[in-house]
Symmetry: C2
């Protein structure tokens, strides 16, 4: 629901939040887990505002959340608490908390309060952002029909999309332990591949390392084992979104994936952006679900309701940039290689969640569910190199004069996401970055 | 290494441990997490001895592990501690602890000590056994070549085994949240299936519910992200084994699994036996790895070493029993429907572990890794109904006059495992049970 916290005329006394290019104006306020000392120990839940992080634990200790209405949220803001402590709080209570944060940070707040808030701001550059919570289970979907079609074409030119695709939100269990925060280096994995099908497979560093531009969402309230989640209630179980780079070793994946799906081609690293952009902050950017027209069947009833159809989509522009070592050495800015949009997914986040729990699987607070590679219809909207280079056949060209079929050592991939709509303030997701290091 | 704790002549003053049929003689001593009150709160790590569980926390409080050699283990035995607290302790220290437990429990222990130990025994029937630890990530392999061939034949009669099978230990990420302890009812999942390929898929209770007889092993010491585990060191990272029933909805699985593998066909429940049988207890039952002869290629070097080849296998007989409601009503005992053996796996537990970490994936203490369905060469050794009934075509007959293609409501599946070898005491795994309840 759009409310007064989305008002585009709101300004903050934190100057950097009023920069038109910031991802974190007062209308956004994503949650992060930050660590002040750079090591474990002095950190906890914060919100991002401009180029600052507001330490919510200290704000609480200073009595800024002392009202009864905020008691439940305030209680969770213990020192060192994970952001997931907030995830299963009722949306109404979270909404009241967001309104309170806006009141504290907007430019007409009273001087006395402002001085208390100000001393609890820390420069985002001076702290380390970790993943926001311990992720129990990580699930990865495959919800871009354009991605599925582009990848399918490489293997089955005449029949790219499998018959189940338009009926089932296809997904698989991912590896939770190797989820790392933005900025963590990614070591090129070793593994088995079989470049020559006539010769035995070989074991060594992956030669077809790729990124995947994805979006993840965190489970807020969970469901008990054996219970399901009605599609009409699905979004009550979703707390917020982040960016996900689901790094992929295509040679390992291609050789191992039959018949049980991706495994070591994925589990060496998954990078996430630290900021959790709440569903409430995203309210102005909701759009209808994918238009199936006459081309695809309507979703089965358990995946279908009017609200989902009418506003199940989310308009988030998703940019992928690359920066090679040569580019950095020559002072060339990171280069945009694709821009896709979350709204083009065939399945909505609500449908993913409801489908996931439809067999009684217990989703738990803090689980991360990713969309799969987000690609669009156009060539410029392909969310991984596998699609972009047609499986390594057509290299992309970079401003440094280099080309890439797949990632090379010291390449950095930078994912960005942001929402824009006439009449509303632009909000963003921050970045999800990772540099490829040579195999060890 | 076989040592004095494996001596078949050892007897315990706990009489039930000397019963020739017990799974838990003094030579076994598997670890469990038990809860005395039946609810959370008064429990912790125990070991099973005969029909009793020994409360290790209380033994520690009573000073029974006060020596310096046992200090590290003793430290982990806090009230309510998970069994995984023991998992990353050095094998030497664990071995010393095992020797101490044997000394406390054997029939020539001194009277004073015995009376202290005795008051810390509780009747296994009076306590609730939970899963032994929080399982971070759960991985399921596919390591029985007989299972892979039997299942492959159903889909590709002329070419049952895919080309990667003999090179890659095939596995996939499973769902950790829905792992439940033996005795938990399993609700029949709902999901999508497409029984008639000419008609749209349908959503409803699974009609092809199956069990899978598997064995799981717990990761002891983990590895850091980016590090790998040498095959020669693999078993140093494995703490012990349990039984796993990886319940499967074959209709959901069959419709959803392409191209990313099993998902909701598996994630509704995985039942594990509570006892963790240590690698040390299993030492007498080690056998050579699968004999590949001239039929299959030698493992690639990263999966190959002499110790693994010579004693990487484990001889564990695995029984599946079924008990239908009618059988229980008529007083008919559970009926043995298959007996397979862990030694017949194509890949060893060490190979699974080394392969899993070969891409730098960080395995963590308490992760559970399962073997996949353990089937053997013979018809009587098929570890799931899908294989046994040839995909539902040939029902099995039960002593009650009933038949089964797949599981029906109120069927109970009971898994058992045990090791026997001339000159050694039989040890067992206890049971892994679950009753199917109707879809809700």
């Amino acid at each position: 629901m759009i409310n007064s916290t989305h008002d585009s005329t709101l300004k903050s006394w934190v100057d950097s939040a009023n920069d038109p290019d910031t991802d974190f104006p007062i209308q956004n306020l994503p949650y992060v887990y930050f660590d002040r000392s750079g090591a474990d120990g002095d950190g906890g839940i914060g919100v991002l505002i401009g180029d600052q992080a507001l330490d919510l634990t200290r704000c609480r200790e200073d009595g800024l959340f002392a009202s009864e209405e905020l008691a439940e949220v305030a209680w969770t803001l213990q020192k060192g608490a994970a952001v997931s402590n907030l995830f299963d709080i009722d949306p109404e209570a979270l909404s009241a908390f967001r309104a309170r944060l806006v009141a504290l940070l907007k430019d007409d707040s009273d001087e006395a309060t402002r001085s208390i808030v100000a001393k609890n701001l820390v420069d985002s550059k001076s702290v380390r952002f970790d993943i926001p919570c311990e992720i129990g289970d990580y699930t990865d979907f495959y919800c871009s029909i354009y991605h599925a079609t582009n990848v399918g074409k490489l293997f089955r030119p005449d029949n790219p999309l499998l018959p189940n695709y338009s009926w089932v939100p296809i997904g698989y269990h991912g590896r939770a332990s190797s989820i790392v925060p933005s900025g963590t280096d990614v070591i090129r994995p070793k593994g088995q591949g079989r470049p020559d099908p006539e010769a035995p497979p070989i074991f060594g560093p992956s030669r077809r390392l790729d990124y995947e531009m994805e979006v993840g969402f965190y489970v807020g309230k969970g469901n008990d084992l054996g219970d399901t989640i009605d599609i009409a209630d699905a979004e009550k179980h979703i707390f917020g979104l982040c960016l996900v780079n689901d790094w992929s070793a295509r040679d390992i994946q291609g050789w191992e994936y039959q018949p049980l799906g991706p495994f070591l081609g994925k589990s060496f690293a998954t990078t996430i952006s630290p900021a959790v952009v709440t569903m409430e902050a995203l309210a102005p950017f909701r759009v209808p679900a994918f238009d199936r027209g006459d081309d695809y069947p309507a979703p089965l009833p358990y995946l279908s309701d009017e609200t989902n159809a009418g506003s199940g989509g989310i308009d988030v522009k998703l940019d992928v940039l690359i920066s090679t070592k040569k580019m950095r050495d020559e002072g060339i800015e990171p280069h945009l290689i694709s821009r896709s949009n979350l709204k083009d997914l065939f399945w909505t986040v609500g449908q993913m969640l409801t489908h996931h729990a439809s067999n009684g699987c217990n989703l738990q607070t803090g689980d991360l569910i990713a969309t799969g590679t987000v690609s669009g219809k156009e060539d410029s909207e392909r969310g991984c190199l596998l699609e972009m280079t047609l499986g390594g056949k057509e290299p992309i060209e970079l401003p440094s004069g280099e080309t890439r079929k797949f990632l090379e050592d010291y390449d950095e991939i930078i994912l960005r996401g942001f929402c824009e709509r006439e009449g509303f303030r632009r909000i963003g997701f921050g970045e999800c970055r990772g540099v490829v290091l040579p195999a060890s």
